[in-house]
């Protein structure tokens, strides 16, 4: 039996691994270590957010009140829905249902696209209200009245965090959409089997991680406006 034949027997096993199970363990450990580095990456932003929220409490409350809570909540539900379809994608790969796999992966992409679309609309609103730090910072009228009590410079800091945190999150979403497209193409070529579908699971873990970041961003950015 030639090497090539031996390899064909274990479709999807890279040659440095003994068997599929060992390879999968390495895959999972790898993605989890990567996700922990991502926790620390976003963690730096969350820690600095905590400091400034504490120092500039009133300004952060005013800034948060400017955001549209309905869009934030709707986007949260859209993203949670995409996590559901992602989990169902992995399940379809497990059961070897290729049609369902492609369908759920595409649904995940569509929901991700809706999320980014709403986000783009919200970013545009910030330009309309002139609350973009550095580029277009000239709040007026009702917006100014909301932001003034906490100090305009401090409110600008809130929006720096808003753009930095949601922006970094959106970049992760865009990368995730690219990975999903790659999975769809591979699934259509039938390169996954009921025993080899680690790429679907690994991308799934990444997607759920990005969802979790948003689970924390939503209350920290949208819900601290003191809307009672």
């Amino acid at each position: 039996m030639t090497d090539a034949e031996a390899h064909a027997q274990h479709a999807g096993v890279a040659h440095q691994f003994e068997d599929l199970e060992q390879q999968q363990e390495a895959d999972f450990l790898g993605i989890w270590v990567f996700l922990v580095t991502e926790i620390m990456f976003f963690g730096g932003l969350f820690a600095s957010y905590a400091i400034y929220r504490w120092l500039y409490f009133a300004a952060f409350q005013g800034g948060s009140h400017i955001l549209d809570i309905r869009l934030g909540a709707a986007n949260t539900i859209v993203l949670l829905g995409s996590s559901l379809t992602m989990a169902l994608s992995v399940r379809s790969a497990q059961t070897g249902n290729r049609r369902a796999l492609v369908l759920f992966l595409v649904s995940t992409m569509i929901l991700g696209g809706i999320f980014l679309g709403v986000k783009a609309y919200e970013y545009n609103q910030k330009f309309v209200e002139h609350v973009v730090p550095g580029l277009d910072w000239a709040p007026e009228g009702e917006t100014l009245a909301r932001l003034a009590p906490g100090g305009l410079n401090h409110a600008e800091m809130y929006f720096i965090f808003y753009f930095a945190m949601t922006g970094l999150h959106a970049v992760h979403m865009i990368i995730g959409m690219g990975l999903l497209l790659w999975l769809v193409l591979r699934a259509r070529k039938d390169s996954f089997t009921t025993s080899y579908f680690a790429p679907v699971e690994v991308v799934g873990l990444y997607w759920h991680f990005v969802d979790i970041v948003w689970i924390f961003l939503f209350p920290l950015l949208y819900l601290i406006g003191g809307r009672y």
Partner: protein
């Protein structure tokens, strides 16, 4: 590592719980609980994260190695936030010596 196949119903149920918690946290933002608004928001976010991690990400079926890596990651994040906030909160406890706040540069004969 082959995870058992989880019934579709379980995923949908978790999703419904996540939606419920999202509505709850949004509703709580409109009620004045004083400092407990933040506590409630973070507690709900944490519960949502646990649901996603344990069920959607399947950590309840993961190997001990993966669980250790995950817990270590959160532990380090907790250290980062706790020590940073600890520093900022306690800076004003001991006043700086007067000599530090001199605006004029020290004169050397």
């Amino acid at each position: 590592m082959s995870h058992p196949i989880v019934p579709q119903k379980t995923y949908v149920l978790i999703f419904v719980c996540l939606i419920g918690l999202t509505i709850l946290t949004t509703g709580v933002a409109f009620i004045d609980l004083g400092p407990f608004n933040t506590v409630a928001a973070l507690a709900i976010a944490f519960s949502k994260m646990l649901l996603v991690v344990l069920f959607f990400m399947g950590v309840r079926h993961s190997s001990g190695m993966v669980k250790i890596v995950l817990v270590a990651g959160f532990f380090w994040l907790a250290l980062l936030i706790a020590f940073t906030m600890g520093d900022y909160h306690t800076r004003s406890w001991t006043p700086a010596p007067d000599s530090w706040s001199n605006t004029a540069p020290p004169t050397h004969p």
